[in-house]
Symmetry: D2
Subunit: 301 residues, 4 copies
């Protein structure tokens, strides 16, 4: 098929190669001209603007957005919508909030444009070699694009989840689970690392990847990480987050579903961004007030 | 090799078949004679008592215990130790507390008997087809038995972890991680199940097993479970636990390691065993006291 | 002062008595005529409709809303706003979401109407005998009404917090803390109740109210509750929640502040509303899949 | 009464003054002679050794230990026990583990010596002006000493909890609750502090102490702390802990009681002691492995 690809960052770039390898025709655009140039060398048709991208696509256009979630998606939509025709299909392959996707689909539907929300998992290597895609939106639009989802995903690695928003919703929950699994693995290795036993953490991760209950791709990546740096001495324990974990907890709160593990995984990430905490100051101050327990003073104050 | 196997329950039975398949000679004993009889039919040498088991083993005996953790291990040790000779090796393949294993190894060492603590993961199918084994204890005893560990485990699925206790310690932490991973997966599926989208949970688990970041054996088992019962309507959400999760949290507390996710996974299991909670009664009573919020009354009281 | 009071439920009723006792003139309205009649007997001027209430108030009207948070506040505002004049002041004394209060204040400001958001704590007894009030909104409007806040509150029990929304925000966080304190107290008493010691829980709560670090109004209420029902046998442990706890967690997530204790307090409330959990079903199913651990079956299925 | 007091630290010193003020005769000993001297000036009889202390006490001695929990208690007991007579009474007023108190009581009972475990709350000011005491042990020994407990406590501030260990158990749970309440308060203030509103935190704490649901001694101390340092800028958020919180969680685990709030309060304390975390390193490494998310490097490595 022919597909327009907007956004050639880490994920979009690999996805373009993936599509080309699967013999799809890709018209590619990014705000960075050198990224356009680099996929041109790989066989993509370059576009120097969104307008050019749209012009180069024949009718019943299929445009895949792989841009950062949030306002940029809306900006791109605002820029391209006036140039599109009824029947065209936009796929948002990024990590957008599913509620936004529902709104966007409704807005575009008024112009006869289909909007598919596609959660894409598998990381950078997956984007290149075979991802896991979860798609929401109109069934017929999905079916029109099914070959794309099939080709870019590993075998059995794509799913039509249901109406608009369901693709990004399923991806959101996937990431919530991912937060929990990562935190569980990480806590376990901290217990190992702090223990009196002098354990070879790479070897432990490796043996766990062979026959244990916790064998998983994340454990394989853990093994890889320890292989590169046996005690992770070069890495700071700062855990950033992008949004899906937070949205999973928000959804859970709205649904009255207790999700202590996912919530705590997220909160420990927030905690890791703080050098000192106000919470800690209050508790330290209180211990001092009632028990005379010494507080440690901040420097220079 | 020749090996004495004590305990032919779910795990011990499969392990016996595994050993036989790998051409080891197994002398098997269980308190249930019919279990001994059934492995006899598979090629094991039957023993009708622990004494007989010991008698049937030639010198430098290797005895694998696959009995429930706790007092039973000590009872078996008390019964067999007087009949053993210096140089014999006992392997505890169950889920014993690593501190107990350290004590037992020290006690047996006084009689010249080696004690290996072997954490065994992979569930029942693993015990049969290839487990993951984590071994602690004396290095030379381990090396003497290495062929056993190698044969019963999947490729690369065994590890000498270090001195006594380290095998059960690594297995304990494995289970702590397992608790966290399971709770994360389960919370995610509850969010999916409670959502407004009408999702096919088996299909979601399946697609996540193909290319996603959370692909794992536990997710494959999740897929299987939904395949058998699409909404798990026949299963009560009661989550038992055996001990390793609790010990992991206790170890974390001793090491001052924060393990919120593992701790909460355990506590949600405890919570699942309670029909009503005293905590809830107190909070409900307090809300009634200050805000006049109605409490729901227990029946018949 | 003269004050219009809309909403004569548990809190509004007591507040009316409080205002009357402090020699304010109250024009009172509720959708339930009998509630209007009952405060009439106590000295309030009755109003049979919102229009009548507005008519009976002289210029620079002060109207206190004590209605359930959410849509009802907006409905009342829609109904009364057309009849109000620039310079009038509306006080929302309920548990509204602070973001809504900011929006409402902005909307009313366009018509020259001041909107104060007032968090009211202290429960029903506080509403009658002396509350704790936290007020946000325009400073001059606050100062115009200051006598009201002063009179209905205990000494030093009112605070001008800042611009619109700040009053309800401070009250929201107050309730988040309250959730955490209540859960902490309740967990502690569950540990006491489950322990091998046969403790007199009322006596424990009582002694803690005399000189201990945890002495507090909530502990006094705990003592009262145990005085009425020594083991709370008549109360079901179902912990409802109204919204402020959830909003506190949502605000914390937005601010990237880790609030594990408040979040867990909320989630244990949600958990208490569930007889069985899907999370538990998934974990039980997984334990069955890998370990053959028996699941408990739901009845009749 | 006459009472021997061993340990004149922060708590023991104030307690001595408290006892003297209540017209008890105190024979005081501490390893630091200047502490003995300072209470001598206040009216206590000085003892330069444990032997002297015992000698100076008339028969049916009552000896109050106010020494750090753990091994020191056992050392003191070993030193004094040989010099004591049947019928003497030892009171451990420190924060000992209740299981140790049960053991110590059993050991001393064999020599006819009574051992009372007394949890003492109220902080330093309470030790001086009126504490809250929770006492376990033999009923008759308690009754013999009741005047002491009554006098050093605020009115209604002492309780005979039951057999040996129950006093320290009740105090342990008290501290567990205290951890939860403190963390709840502290989290709330961090949300306030991080919010867009420019709130006067001392004023908020103050208003909450007047009529609100969360009014409490801890909130009064919070107010005091903000009075001294409006943003706690001089205090580092390092939250030490002594043991009772950990023991409460351990007891909860043994009793299968879910205590998420107390557990998390403790774990956030542990987290506050860590500058960087291994958990964070693992999660950061994993995010890098699958998503190419940049890790922050530690310096100089």
């Amino acid at each position: 098929m022919q597909i327009g690809l907007v956004g050639l960052g880490k994920m979009g770039y690999q996805l373009t190669l993936n599509l080309l390898r699967n013999n799809h025709q890709v018209v590619a655009y990014d705000v960075e001209p050198e990224l356009v140039e680099s996929v041109r060398k790989e066989g993509a048709l370059p576009a120097n603007s969104l307008e050019e991208l749209i012009r180069k696509l024949h009718n019943k256009r299929v445009i895949w957005l792989m841009v950062p979630a949030g306002k940029i998606v809306d900006q791109v939509l605002e820029n391209i919508t006036p140039h599109l025709s009824a029947g065209d299909i936009i796929i948002d392959g990024g990590n957008s909030n599913f509620k936004m996707s529902i709104e966007r689909a409704a807005r575009l539907e008024q112009r006869g444009i289909d909007f598919l929300d596609c959660g894409t998992s598998g990381g950078i290597s997956g984007a290149l070699k075979g991802a896991c895609t979860m798609v929401g939106g109109g069934k017929s639009a999905f079916e029109y694009c099914e070959a794309i989802f099939k080709d870019i995903s590993v075998e059995n690695g794509y799913l039509y989840c249901g109406p608009s928003g369901s693709g990004h919703f399923v991806k959101m929950v996937h990431n919530g689970i991912e937060y929990g699994m990562m935190q569980a693995i990480a806590e376990g290795f901290e217990v190992l690392e702090k223990s009196a036993f002098d354990l070879d953490l790479e070897a432990v991760a490796k043996v766990w990847n062979h026959g244990s209950v916790v064998r998983s791709w994340l454990m394989e990546l853990t093994e890889q990480a320890f292989h590169k740096d046996a005690k992770l001495e070069q890495i700071k324990g700062i855990m950033h987050s992008s949004g899906e974990g937070k949205w999973t907890v928000e959804s859970a709160l709205e649904l009255n579903v207790p999700t202590p593990v996912i919530a705590l995984s997220l909160m420990m990430r927030y905690r890791s961004l703080q050098e000192d905490t106000f919470t800690g100051k209050v508790v330290a101050a209180l211990r001092n007030e009632f028990g005379g327990h010494k507080v440690e003073k901040t420097k220079g104050e």
